[in-house]
Symmetry: C2
DNA sequence: AAGTGGTCTAGACCACTCA
DNA sequence: GAGTGGTCTAGACCACTTG
């Protein structure tokens, strides 16, 4: 490992980015478990043969990427995305108290297939590539508020169909498969409830609903999940933040 | 200036944050004009009596806050928010090609008044505080797509009513008044077109429309503009990005 | 008291831009 | 070739947390 870094030290890619990749690989590979502490700055710097300042730059970057949490006086910890705060970070739906809503799954189906035209576009797949598709209905405080259709590249989730107790949030599922997530982009638009959607919400067919078209990407920017969600907004609102 | 920093060096507020504030003040105060270059790192570090590393940390922060742009080999420049890219940064509406849409104003009205209950809430004002209210209709590619009602704390924009050619985007208006902007938060929901809104869009009264409730905040987090926008989405979409 | 991350220093060298 | 920001070093000291 030190070798790889030393040998590519002259390859023009900044050291701190190489360090980030090496450390991220330890998380993705399961060497460092979610929730556990990692060695301190100076030990890591010594191990990789770099200065503490450079190691710090890599660690700071990883904190910004939500891979790590650093706490003064305590240490540096691998983020466990199995937590209310982190598991809901790609959900812009909020309850009246302002907390992010991720909802519980009432019913779910999994089917396999080959990528549709739209799936190829959103997931950057080629026709013929395999996908897993989830259909889920979510509720919150005993109210059904969202139905979603999610598609995942099958290549990234080997053996998913054979699993039992499949996580119903992409963030948790990705963590189980050692996939590190980066950004997400969501298109929001207005739609009319299809008969089946209207029925699950108990509203009139054709009623206006909010449509969410979201792509979650890996740390490298490759798409990992495409989700279409149809949302019946009561006692909740959608909130976007900008800088 | 150097004095202020030296004397508060022991006040437990990190030096690089004090530097950020001092440099931001030079921009807000008009000492450094939008678009112009500022002195280089080492000159600034020498002027403030800090190391280049600390000055760099302040400058990097300011770049992340969109106050500066740094370009290797060229220099560091004060951002001019009078540009397509920056002026539209708080607009999540996108044209079919993916570019942010800010639209041109077809008609605008300005009236003064005292803060309503909702304005007090969103702008953190007290009953009786004065506000400016703008009512605008925006179009893009010859199509009316948005009508908005914006409220601004009058205290932040002295003499606004007497101005001619008032900028129709908060980002540009804020720059003219030396207000540095930070983040914005936008609530997205579904609504029904009121008769007057329906008329300007040329749609049936009661048609479903997208409602945008946005607060733009200053660098310090204080609200600077509250805007309610009613949007008729055709050939456009709303896009939120998450990290 | 020991250990951690957070801040700060005073340099060096590299990559890039431009006259 | 001169000047800029970008990376990197090898330390020091401080603030905070915990046994």
């Amino acid at each position: 490992m030190g070798d790889r870094i030393m040998s590519s030290r002259f390859l023009n890619r900044p050291l701190y980015l190489q360090l980030r990749d090496a450390l991220a690989e330890r998380i993705a590979g399961g060497e460092w478990k979610p929730g556990s502490a990692i060695p301190n700055e100076s030990d890591l710097a010594r191990e990789f043969g770099v200065s503490t300042g450079t190691m710090r730059k890599a660690l700071d970057l990883m904190e910004a990427e939500r891979l790590l949490t650093r706490r003064q006086g305590r240490g540096t910890f691998v983020n466990d995305h199995n937590s209310d705060e982190l598991a809901a970070r790609f959900s812009n739906l909020r309850a009246s108290d302002g907390s992010r809503v991720c909802g519980e799954v009432k019913s779910a189906e999994l089917i396999q297939g080959t990528a549709s035209e739209m799936e190829c576009k959103r997931l950057e797949l080629r026709p013929g590539d395999h996908v897993y598709r989830f259909h889920r209905v979510r509720h919150h405080q005993n109210k059904v508020y969202l139905v979603e259709d999610a598609s995942l590249p099958a290549a990234l989730f080997p053996g998913l169909a054979e699993k039992s107790n499949i996580a119903d949030r992409i963030i948790i599922l990705a963590q189980e498969y050692g996939l590190l997530l980066g950004k997400a982009a969501e298109r929001v638009s207005l739609g009319h409830a299809s008969p089946s959607v209207a029925q699950t919400f108990g509203i009139a067919s054709g009623s206006p609903i909010m449509v969410l078209d979201r792509v979650v990407m890996g740390l490298d920017g490759r798409p990992i999940e495409w989700r279409m969600a149809y949302c019946h907004l009561v006692d909740k609102y959608y909130m976007a933040e900008m800088v």
